[in-house]
Amino acid sequence: MTLITSKVCVVGDFAVGKTSVVERFVNNQFSEKYLTTIGVKVDTKEIDLPLRHVTQKLIIWDVAGSDHFGDSEISYLRGSAGFIFVVDGTRPQTLKTARSLRRQIEAKYDRRPSVMLANKKDLTNAWEISADQIESLADDYDAVYRTSAKTGDDIETALIRLADLIVGRELHE
């Protein structure tokens, strides 16, 4: 198995569950307590992609939540091979934030593989993003998932999909 190391960044509005997504993916844990991220939190996780005969080491940059990147925030994204956009399904505004951040990233860096996570799927009663809105995201992202960091629904699937996209791109290049 070939080892490929890639940096990926997790971005989105504040309190959408970015840190929880990473925590679920890296350590398979979840905490109900909300703790604001300052700056960036870096974790690593290795994934096997047997069909590609590759072990993918993801260096995951969990970037502090924001509705707009300043100069220092955008510099965190340098060298990122892919992006994980996270929105809160109970707050439609976070969808607009994701769209705005994506435009900022694409203006600064080349387009990279990206997945969209509509998170907090477990809060069904408070969910406010329609199926149509989620479907309409398909053109902007390589894949869209309804996830729950709390239950773990589709978190690993989404990250593996991103890893596969990155490896596919790197092998192709």
Binding site: T36, G39, V40, R78, G79
Partner: protein, 518 residues
């Protein structure tokens, strides 16, 4: 900015004490070349030269290029928070880690409070929006309940009103029947009184029948139990029948009545004649009932398979508020004091709808009223052209039994048409004039058997016309028909004096007497 050497030295020492810099140099492959400072505080160990630092410190992956970089508050995998600096030097890079734990904790506390406040605010907004929705739902539900309550109250009031009205409507003719029956059975009653009692009982019975029929009609229509029976019929005959039926009723109130038929109206049409007749009788009857002076007109037009009949009266008109009510069962708006079940217009509207048509109303107080009914009809090709409709023959008592000519003078066209209509039906030959001088010359020329004069007309008035004719030796009866009240002296100029509104049967009877009694 340049500072004294010992100050710079002091600041450097203070910065170093606070941030505990750990620095390492790596080559272009990421292998360690050298280190400076203590690596222990940032979770690192004393690495040997050649160590792959891209694995040991993965947070430097992807950020090493030709530019120096400054990344603040990087939480490493070991949970240590550092400010990260990368400084390129030829093909190598210096990486500096500065302790940022203290600043991070302070900032995080502030940011945490701010974010929690924003989340709280959002929660409040959602609650307010939810509350607003609930209030809106409540208001809507209350409005619906109010509407239903008003409908129920109105329905109940209508029912009570109906019962009260129907008991009155039924009680009156029933009382008449009972009383006249008692009268007829009394001892010593003359044949004439018995005859009149039976007539009164008959009238009351017919009235009761019509009330019951109206109620049944309405119930059948409401329940959808009436079926149309369409056939071809002569529309002009129907209009003539209506004129014959309505004109006398209008004349009794000194109202003029006219039927105006557009040239495009086909003679033979296919529709339910009985129901169409019922609609027009109801509407015309209403117009006459509520109009005290002026005219009633029935205007008939045809366009694209739809027959339109407009009933135009000069009555008191109907307010916008009452217009909503008049088509509802048992409601008669401000005319509720009038006789009738209050079902006529309801039945009429339901019949029109049943025929695939509609009824509209255009009126305002003091402007009269126009009720328009539109119904679809089929037409049949016919060679018939319109002919003057044959008027039904009135009672023999008032009909001319020998050639008799009458000259009529009236400046009011409607009145002239009305009198002409009646006399014509009764078989009289007519000479009409609208001015005094014309009347004199026509009377001298044609020598009519009788002259009917309006009095208050422009130019030579009716009294002067009568005096003039008498002076010229005209010896036939001259009748005054005027809205004016004549003095005894003025009345002396005439053979007979009728004041408008005159009862047409009485006028006709007098005309017959004056022209036929030798």
């Amino acid at each position: 900015m340049s500072l004294p050497g010992h100050v710079i030295e002091y600041l450097q020492d203070a910065f170093a004490a606070e941030t505990r810099p750990f620095c390492f140099l790596i080559d272009e492959h990421g292998s360690l070349v050298a280190t400076w400072g203590d690596p222990a505080w940032c979770g690192l160990q004393d690495f040997a030269p050649g160590t792959n630092m891209l694995e040991a410190t993965p947070y430097i992956v992807g950020i090493l290029d030709d530019e120096p970089h400054k990344l603040n508050f990087v939480t490493t995998g070991a949970g240590v928070i550092v400010h990260l600096r990368t400084i390129p030097h030829e093909s190598q890079h210096y990486v500096v880690l500065l302790d940022a734990g203290e600043q991070h904790d302070f900032l995080q506390q502030k940011q945490q409070s701010s974010n929690e406040l924003r989340l709280l605010h959002r929660g409040q907004q959602r609650l307010i929006a939810r509350q607003r929705d609930l209030i809106s739902d409540l208001v809507e539900a209350k409005a619906e309940l109010d509407h239903l309550r008003r409908e129920a109250e109105r329905s109940s009031a209508s029912k009570s009103q109906f019962i009260a009205m129907m008991s009155h409507e039924f009680r009156t003719p029933l009382a008449s029947i009972v009383n006249y029956a008692d009268l007829a059975l009394e001892d010593g009653v003359s044949d004439n009184q018995i005859h009149k009692s039976i007539e009164a009982i008959g009238r009351s019975g017919r009235h009761l029948t019509s009330l019951v029929e109206a109620l049944l009609d309405d119930a059948r229509l409401e329940g959808g139990h009436i079926e149309l029976r369409e056939k071809f019929f002569d529309l002009y005959d129907l209009l003539d029948d209506l004129a014959a039926m309505m004109a006398p009723l209008a004349a009794e109130k000194a109202l003029s009545y006219a039927t105006l038929v557009d040239a495009d109206v086909p003679r033979r049409v296919r529709a339910d004649e009985v129901r169409l007749r019922q609609i027009l009788i109801n509407l015309l009857g209403n117009a006459i009932k509520f109009t005290e002076e002026g005219s009633i007109r029935l205007l008939v037009t045809y366009h694209d398979g739809r027959l339109a009949a407009a009933i135009i009266d000069t009555g008191p008109g109907i307010s916008a508020e009452d217009q909503d009510k008049v088509f509802r069962a048992f409601e008669r708006g401000s005319q509720s004091g009038r006789a009738g079940a209050g079902l006529g217009l309801t039945i009429t509207m339901r019949l029109a709808h049943l025929m695939g048509g509609d009824i509209s109303l255009d009126s305002s107080p003091g402007r009269g009223c126009t009720v328009s009914v539109h119904v679809p009809v089929s037409t049949a090709p016919t060679a018939d052209s319109r002919q003057d409709p044959a008027l039904p023959t009135p009672d023999e008592d008032v009909c001319a039994t020998r050639p008799t000519s009458i000259l009529i003078l009236d400046d009011d066209e409607d009145m002239l048409a009305l009198i002409e209509h009646y006399l014509h039906r009764a078989g009289y030959g007519l000479i009409v004039s609208s001015s005094g001088s014309e009347a004199i010359s026509k009377a001298v020329a044609y020598k009519p058997d009788l002259v009917i004069l309006d009095v208050n007309i422009p130019g030579i008035n009716g009294i002067d016309v009568a005096l003039n004719l008498r002076r010229q030796g005209f010896d036939k009866p001259i009748v005054a028909l005027t809205a004016s009240t004549l003095s005894a002296a003025e009345q002396a100029s005439f053979t007979r004096y009728f004041q408008k509104p005159a009862k047409m049967p009485a006028l006709l009877a007098e005309v017959k007497r004056l022209t036929h009694d030798d």
